[in-house]
Amino acid sequence: MASDSARFQAFRDDEASINKKLPKELLLRIFSFLDVVSLCRCAQVSKAWNVLALDGSNWQRIDLFAFQKDVEGPVIENISRRCGGFLRKLSLRGCQSVGDGSMKTLALLCQNIEDLNVNDCKKISDTICTALSRHCHKLQRLNLDGCPLITDKSLKALSDGCVNLTTINISWCSNITENGVEALARGCPKLTCFIAKGCEQITSRGVICLARYCSNLEVMNLMGCGTIRDEAVQALAERCPKLHYLCLSSCSALTDASLLALAQYSTMLSTLEVAGCAQFTDAGFLALARSCRYLEKMDLDGCVLITDATLIHLAMGCPRIEYLTLSHCELITDEGIRHLSMSPCAAENLTILELDNCPLVTDASLEYLTSCHNLQRIELYDCQLITRAGIKRLRNYLPMIKVHAYFAPVTPPPMGSTARSRYCRCCAIL
């Protein structure tokens, strides 16, 4: 009885023992390691905890992806009121119900925000960028991926107010044109990462402006910007020596001149994705392989003109290659693979090799590849000269490898007639 009354006493006073033992500062410190859900749970324990758990200092980094559609305007407004200047990083990825009004409040109240992600918030429009540029001058990273209402106005506003911007993602904002990009380039010289997948209205001029004003660019993704021509890539290569990631997939107007420029200036390049650039030939890759020694990942999907020569040069010049995609390169033969497998990169680094839809590759290639000890995955879809036996031999040498091919599972051999007893199990027991 005595202990019971003591417990009640503890509840009544809101002085549970943990609160007595630990000072508030330590509790706050502990709370600062919790995620959103746990914090909200803690906030329901007692009045004291409520105050501590909802303290703005615990809410510096918030990711609401797990809630998505449940997140609506009032939620954002409450958060911005609670966090105020504490908020550094907010991710609203997939929160489609969020609109302009609440985002304006956010920009007004949380002026120290550095990283904002509104990926797939389809309702937000240019007004949010205007508000951000007016109030949040510390903004460094902004992700507007998949917000179709965003136009050039946003980029112009950002270039006025957010000069510290280093990373911006405007993928699939199809209303953005070269004018917006030019304004951005002039206003935000610290830009290091520019991602604009599927923005078909960004032309060569936009890219040239970026190259001219933002010489710190390291990561550049222009996938699907089909109007880009060689002069853009040339300017990029000349002006941005730090470039190490470049994606030009589906820019089908590019020719070898781009590759030559990259070879000449961008020697730091580690990732190059040029899927679907069908005009690239061996000559371009030859130059590239000679100078870009740090290449680690290359996606050459659909570069239909390249032959074994490219592979030979890559094998000699780029010892760090880990990930090589040669899908749909129909001229590749066993000879190319042989050179690749003899190269230093093959023995040490090569982990993923994609050869699907290379019709000339045969089992001999697999024989050569047995020397690639690090190979983890190989794609062989639609290589019709590859046989089951060849894959089996490869597996013998590299037991951990994942081989992807269209082969049916082997049918188990028919069971011997003696394997089954004549009686079912229950009869046997009886």
Binding site: G94, Y381, L385, K402, F407, P409
Partner: protein, 444 residues
Amino acid sequence: MAHYETMSERICKDLREIVLASTINTPPFKVKDFAIVTEERGIYNKSPILFQEAHLGLEAWSVDIIYQYVCSKIFPLRKHLARGKTSLQERRNLNCWLIAAILINPQVTTFWNMRRNLALQAAVAFSVELEFSRIVLTRNYKSSDAFTYRRWVLQRMFLDETARCVVFGVTRSLFYGELQICDKVLELAPDNYHCWIHRQCCMVIFDMKNVIEDTLREEFKFIDLWVQRHTKISNGYHYKQFLINFVNVNKRYGPQSSISFVNNSVIVPRSACKSVEDGKINIDNFWEQLGNNDFYDCSKTFNMWICVLWNDLANEDFKDKLFYMHENFWLHRRFILYMMFSSIYYNLGGKLDVGNEVIHVKSTLRDPNILFTVSNSNYKVDEPIFINHARNKIITSPFYKALISAEKKLVQKLTFPSNHELIRRHCSWLNNFLRFDVELTSDS
């Protein structure tokens, strides 16, 4: 096994691409039909998807693997999807997996329901869904789920004002598309109950959109031809009765607007004009024969309705002997007679539609299955249907007499030894049910 998972994933994606491309409607990408092809088990390292000359096929060896894979992926996400708690990527993947799953096994209603969820969450376009269910129907033409899903999609399209996909021309082409699909499926299986139901439902769905006024004529023409070709399949009669009821019940074909419509599109082309009793009675003058011209004026809908029925009765062709050997013919005839007399009776029995409104039809008469209810009863009704003075009025009318003599003649003409039993039943029905005084003549 991990290897098969990536392979299945790839195949699912390829299938989705093909279905998407098929929506564009240009010949090289339009999928004509889908089938699962039995071939030697994957000897070559080649995709099991075959797509040649617009025929889509999936090699049988891959079906097990793919189906197991997609099921293992789909079901864990079912509840999340229903509650709208899936990410964009998950919805995209689900779309791929569901396409493969349904193509392989369209009998699973859960898959279709999940696609409904996807469509409601705007993860898939309605036009793609129509195309997809069409492809499914080319293989599994008896899949009731596929038909139901199509109807659901159509209704959604009409409900969804924001989609703005439904303008008049589009609606019309959609409707013709549905009819085409029905025609194709019916060629494969004339007794496809689900397809007939679908056709009926389409009439009702598109009726709201004001499309079918001129297609109704086509439908009557179609069903007449069809019934002549497939005598033994009762679905056709069922549909015909549906159409008759449809014209009757539907308010859109009410008094003013539709008199000319029914006259021009239903009666005239059908009746070019057959008459009972060697041309003595035709449609134009039988109302005069009923002896009531005022009546003619005040309930035109009713008149038209009778005309439609009359046509059907008079318009039976005497081409094929087999036609009359089958019970369907007689049952249909009874249906029409019954409809005719019931509506006359209820009109004369104090419910004349003076206000030019659609006549009141007893609810049982709306039941398209009346043909069978009538045939299943044993004809020996204790209480005759028409017992009051209205009945006398009918019986004494020249219209009634004309009908009696027409039926008599028909019975005499069509009595063969092989269908003696059918005729006997018909006569006893006429006697007991409509108080017709038709004797079965023993000659022939």
